[in-house]
Symmetry: C2
Subunit: 299 residues, 2 copies
């Protein structure tokens, strides 16, 4: 996409599996209007993406579109192949999946493969590079990005050199909706002694499938309070997650925890329990900074 195409501003879309969020940005990257709705990719019928994109323009203006997230997956609009790590914003910008007829482009996700282990991300890469560009994160850092699928990314010189996904959010959701623990997982999770006890237990490295059952047994035998079970269980999962993220990662410096505040708060508390300082970063601000950084890289 040539420079002039963006001169009147753009629409940036973070288009995920179940939701999408869109912003109209002026030529300096300032947000002028935005909306969020439940039209994630699974809500769009086959062949329905041009209309869904039209709806975005209807609401925010007839501007070029720069999109990130699951919109670029094999279940999205147009597949944007993963860019292998190490990668920085320049590599991403070069591999934008252009859809010229629609004046649109999709940011590719990142992949990591070291022989033994494979991993993928879509959407978080924009926030990672945005956090560095905006100074929310140093260019060398361990970044934790909680969500349905938490990402631990190692940044070196502003580029992602490796990352690892832990499906903590999805697991908590599965357990609370469908498992034998569900009746005890409906209360809200708070940072307190039950949560921190769970974190310590989860960092101990026992199999989660064993630890989880003992939550149930503990309540049945009266060893654990039912109203503490949700926080303890969340702590268990996040403790195992933190153990995974810290393994093999740089062992000094603040850990950047980026995302929705109600999640970053839990991870910051778990990291403190593991002896690490956390710096919380708002995911939305990082996303918009990442979009700006990508626009600057465009040829």
């Amino acid at each position: 996409m040539s420079e002039p195409m963006w001169k009147n501003g753009i629409i940036a879309v973070d288009w995920g599996t179940t939701n999408r969020r869109a912003w109209r940005l002026d030529r300096n990257g300032h947000s002028e209007a935005e909306f969020e709705d439940d039209q994630g990719i699974t809500a769009i019928k086959t062949g329905g993406f041009p209309a869904a994109v039209g709806d975005v323009r209807q609401r925010l203006g007839d501007l070029p579109l720069l999109m990130a997230g699951m919109i670029g997956s094999n279940r999205g609009w147009v597949e944007a192949p993963y860019v292998p790590c190490p990668s920085g914003p320049a590599e991403l910008a070069r591999k934008l999946q252009q859809i010229p007829a629609e004046r649109a482009a999709i940011v590719p996700g990142l992949s990591y493969h070291n022989g033994a282990r494979a991993d993928v991300m879509r959407g978080e890469e924009v926030q990672l590079f945005g956090a560095v560009a905006a100074g929310f994160s140093p260019p060398d850092a361990l970044v934790c990005h909680p969500g349905t699928h938490n990402k631990w990314a190692v940044l070196e010189g502003g580029r992602v050199t490796s990352f690892r996904t832990v499906m903590t959010g999805e697991m908590f959701s599965l357990l609370s909706k469908h498992s034998i623990l569900s009746q005890w997982l409906q209360t809200s999770v708070t940072v307190g002694e039950p949560f921190l006890a769970g974190v310590r237990q989860g960092m101990g490295g026992e199999a989660l499938t064993a630890e989880l059952f003992s939550v149930r047994a503990g309540v049945l035998l009266g060893v654990r309070e039912a109203h503490e079970a949700a926080s303890f269980t969340s702590g268990l999962l996040i403790g195992a997650d933190v153990r995974t993220g810290l393994a093999g990662a740089p062992d000094t410096g603040d850990v950047i925890v980026m995302g929705r505040p109600e999640l970053t708060r839990l991870y910051a508390a778990a990291l403190a329990e593991a002896g690490r300082e956390a710096r919380e970063v708002d995911g939305e601000r990082a996303f918009l900074a990442g979009i700006q950084a990508l626009v600057k890289e465009l040829p």
Copy 2:
């Protein structure tokens, strides 16, 4: 229940959450008739147990009933409080939950609590003591009982001294029905290199929530074959399960693996991968032997 009550035989029922199985046994413990249906405790409405028990007698005869499993839970007919470990068949027989008006009794489950960790079982205890009584298991053994909630029980002198539950079966079911991996978990699980590779990986002790996501990433990146994902994932969960079961348990002797043959086969293969011999025992035969052993202990 006095001795004469059993003199014309009994009906034994293994009454679980989703299914029940019942046998008419003659006074020597030989099965004369049986049935299995989907009238597990969750299928019985409040107040419906007398009728559900009447239905069992309608089909098998008007005999005293000895029942085990979730029928004795707080969601069952009459709660039979857990008997703490260590416990043998004599302790269970003394704590049978009598329902004299119905000529019925419920076998209590077992509990284990060592300060740090709590655990419970209901139904498997009958099979454990039956396996010893029938000579399927030595009186000192590590017994693995796969199912929705796999139990690892340490037997000493024919009594259960400790046990641990791992919710492997439930987790595989949650993942195959509701998770982001579900599309790849519909194929049948077989013992082969993908399964054994999963077992080795699962025994490595990394967080299952991290290992599971890399199954997805591996398929997306073409590093793993989609048709192998179910066996690999089952191997991951069973590997973590075996690691849990072997930790702190006697490190010599055959491991007794008791249950349904399609499950015991998988655990026997995983144990072999961990360097342990397994002896597979049919769970039904052990249950009937356990009922006989309990009847003998009755005052």
